[in-house]
Structures are given as structure tokens and as C-alpha cells.
Symmetry: C2
Subunit: 313 residues, 2 copies
Amino acid sequence: MSNYKYAILGTGALGGFYGAKLQKGGFDVHFLLRRDYEHVTKNGLIIDSKDGDFTLPKVKAYCDVAKMPKCDVVIVAFKTTQNDLLPQMLPSVVKDDGVVLVLQNGLGIEEEVANIVGSNRVMGGLCFLCSNKVGLGHIRHLDYGQITLGEYAVDYYPVGITQRMQQIQKDFETAGVRIELAEDLLLGRWQKLVWNIPYNGLSVILDATTDELMADVHTRELVEQLMYEVALGAKSGGRIISVGFIEMMLDYTVKMKPYRTSMKIDYDEHRPLEVEAIVGNPLRKAQAAGVNLPLIGCLYRQLKFLDGRNRWK
Amino acid sequence: MSNYKYAILGTGALGGFYGAKLQKGGFDVHFLLRRDYEHVTKNGLIIDSKDGDFTLPKVKAYCDVAKMPKCDVVIVAFKTTQNDLLPQMLPSVVKDDGVVLVLQNGLGIEEEVANIVGSNRVMGGLCFLCSNKVGLGHIRHLDYGQITLGEYAVDYYPVGITQRMQQIQKDFETAGVRIELAEDLLLGRWQKLVWNIPYNGLSVILDATTDELMADVHTRELVEQLMYEVALGAKSGGRIISVGFIEMMLDYTVKMKPYRTSMKIDYDEHRPLEVEAIVGNPLRKAQAAGVNLPLIGCLYRQLKFLDGRNRWK
């Protein structure tokens, strides 16, 4: 168990859950909050979890990043639609030998962070977590929770397993969170997009849950075509996604309980959609490598239209 | 002026309008109706038109095609979603030397009709008409009305201008309907799809009017990409649609009043959508010629999903 200081930027369904688990596991955790700041300062955090409910009556809460101590591991846990705040936030909160761990969906975020703190101070994590914020400082953890962790290096060069990764793995596992180490972060990110692009995109465009998309023969086929386009995008970045992986994702989704995707929840709540991170960046990455992804391009334009209109309503 | 007997199969916004114009112009017109049959038998047809309102207190109305006389020109005026009725309807109502005139949207319909009545007895017409049925036997003509008329021959071989086309043109123009003669019906059909596929499709999928689609930079681009895919489809059938034509369609739509497409009206009314005729057939025609149209394929699958769900609601 390390004596790492952890910062959680964005204490919502995801950051609040992992941060609370770490604090409960005995780590020194510093939470950045916005709307919930006063409430959490007074009342702490409540976690309802399928692995056991718990409360943290006292947490170190901040509403201003400048007041936070410098930390060893700075976890970026808000949505990518807030990432324009990162240049202003990160420099003051990450130690010189610390690391920024990006727990966000989509592609290309680590590059943005590397431009701010340097490319040897960035890691990425892919969360398989099903949780919601149900009230001020109150989070409900429904299912899963594991994180796939990878180091970032310039141009997503795969750097294998580092000591720092292993240390963070140990800390999280001490706190009860399973961590898988990825030798190639970019491959992991593209793999996650195999699911995220078709289901997040189509759920918003067609007002549909995952089971509806899989039950209709036409959308079932469109989902599959989109998955193969994601694989084509991955290939343009030198990463191979197998037919078997795609078949596994389809099979897994058919067997899953009916699911409303996170992008659909954002849409229904009239929040900005993570279109750029999840759809736009992969599209542009492939395009820059000379590969056209027409179906993903179609989804992108439909989502941009819907997102733009939705936020005015 | 001919002594042609005209049959109107489907006395709705389109068939009712053209049939009434022909009868008012002095022609012998026989109307097939379904829901409006009793009302129209008693009360005739009422046409509110920007070119002058008129009523026809008495029309020859039928609810059974078997009771209709054999006609020289049989106009198919219902939606393509009813075309499964054609094999049963057409043989008894068209004279041996008569012609079936298909006034429907989409592609490939004339081939279906040719399989029923023979390929030398089919013509197609592209209607530029803005009209609605506002009540039983009551039609409101809002704008336009001209028809582009073309002969069908096997494989849409262009047959130029025939005497029969010129006779029908004369009759319609006597009745006050402008007719343009097309030497190449298939080119005309693909040209109409340049507008119909993007606007009909996206208006349903994104719940949008034409002006909304043109005002947003992303859907504006998607519309244009779809138009170029339609041109690619046309090319797979040996027909050339120029860049200038596409630019004209975009420009024309920007200048048009905000418009709810016919497919969107059908969707809002929970009626079956003409997805197969307008989107599915062009897609399959191009595919059969070895040309993939990915964006149109994406629209097709999204529309099939929405259409299927919409009819149960």
C-alpha cells in the first residue's frame, strides 16, 4: 500500500465512487466538487453499493483546485465536455513526479493532457462501471467497477507494464476495485469504442435501449457494421481488433439486461453529449491516417445536430 | 383532346387532385376509393386550390376494382406501401392497348408493374405537388402540380418521346396540369431521389424540418454527402447527375419555406413509411451493380427500425 495522495476531479457517479472506495481503503483522497461542495463538506459521501453500502461522514472537499494539495495521482473523473478546464486545473494539483489518470470515455484525451503536464505524466483508464448519482453526495453503484489501466506515451506508443501502474493497481485492489493492466492503452481505447460508438450513438438518434437495437434485424446489422468500422479505425492506428472480439461484444450485449446508455441519459437530461471524445476524435484520427469511416461520420453529424438542438430546449 | 378513359387508383391528396382536374377538364374519370367511398358517392369531391377552388358534385366512384370499366390510362396514385395490391388490381382495369401510369415516389416500381401488365404498357410520372387531404373527399392543393412523364421500357432503356406520352400531355394540359416529357425516366427518378432520400430520411430520423436540416452545419454536410451518394447510385445505373444539379437542389431547399416532408407526415400519422421504394430500392439497385452506398444504407436501417416501432404505437 502506497502513501500516494489521490485527487478526484469531478465527484460524480464515477469519481465519487472510486474516490470513496479509496478513502475507505485508507488512502488520502482530495475531492473537487462543484454543485455538491457545501453539502458534502457538511455531510460527507453516501455510497449505496451492490458490494456493500457505506458512508464517509468526513471527506476532504474542495470547490477550488488552487486550494488542493499537490497529489501523486490526479484522477480526471468529470465528463469530456468539461475538458476545456484541464489546462487551468491540472498544473497546480499534480506533483512533479505525479501522474494524471484520465478515467474518461473516448479517444485522444491523453494527448490533450500530455500537452499540459508532459507525456510522461499521463495514464488512461477504461472504466466498466454502472453507477448513478442519486442525490447530493449520494451515489448508487449498480454493477461492475473494474478499470483497465494503461500508460500513455507519445503517439500512444505501447510501453507495457510499468512500476507505477502496478502500484496504482495495488492501491485500488486494496480499496476493493479490480484493475486490469493493459500493455497498450490505445488498443484498449479502440476496443471500448467498439461498444460505445454504436450503442451510445444509436440509442440517442433512435431513442432506443440496447435490447431494442439488438432485437430489430436492421439496427442489429447497423450496430455490427459500425463495430467493423471502429475496427477499421483501430487498424488505421496500427491496432488490430479481431472478428472474435466484435462477436463477443454483440453476444454480450444481447445477454445484457436492457440498458439505457450514458449518452442517452445525458441526452434525456439535456446535458452536453460526449460526441467529440467518443465519435468525433476516432473519426478524425482515422481520417488523418487516410481512412474514411462513413457510417461513423453519419452518426457524428446526426449526433451533433441533436446535441445542438437538445441543449436549447 | 383524347377520348381516353382514365382510372384513378387511390383518390387521396394526389390521385384525387389530378383525377378531379381531369374530370373538370372534360375527361371520363373513374375513381377507386376505400374509406371515402360512401361519402364521395353521395357528395362528390371538393378541391381547394391555389389555382381556383372547385367542386365535383358527381363522380364515378368505386370501392371494388372489379366493377370499374377497362381504362386507357390507369393512374396508380396510392402510396407504394400498398403496392402488394397491384397484381390483383391492374389486370382487370387496364385495356389491352392501355397504359398504367405510376405516379409514385421511389425506384423500381415500373418494373413491378411491367411484370404484371407487360413492359410496353407502363409509364412513370414524377409529381411535384404540394397537396393534403383535409377531410372525406376534400383535398387542399397548396402549391406546384407539374408532372414529369416518361415511358418505361425493359431495364429502363430510354425510349425518348412517344406519341402516347404526347397525348397524355395534351389531356393533362387541357385539364390545367403542366406536363414535362422526359426522354429518360430512370434519370428523372434518380434526380428526384437526390432530394427525397436525404430530406425524407433525415426529417424522420432527426424529427426535423428542411430548414432545420439546412441551418445546422453538420446536417447540411450530411445532406450533401447523401446527395452525392444518390448520384453514385445513379451512375451505377448509367445515369449522370451533375454537381450543378446537386447544388441547385441544395440552393432550392435553402430558399424554400420550412417544409415537413411527406415521409415525416406519414411518420407523425403513424402510417407505414415508403422506405423500400424511396431508400431500399435505390440501395439494392446500386448494390446489384456492385456499388456500395454506406450512408444511404445507414439511413435505410435507421428508418426501418423507426417505421417498425412507429406502427405499433
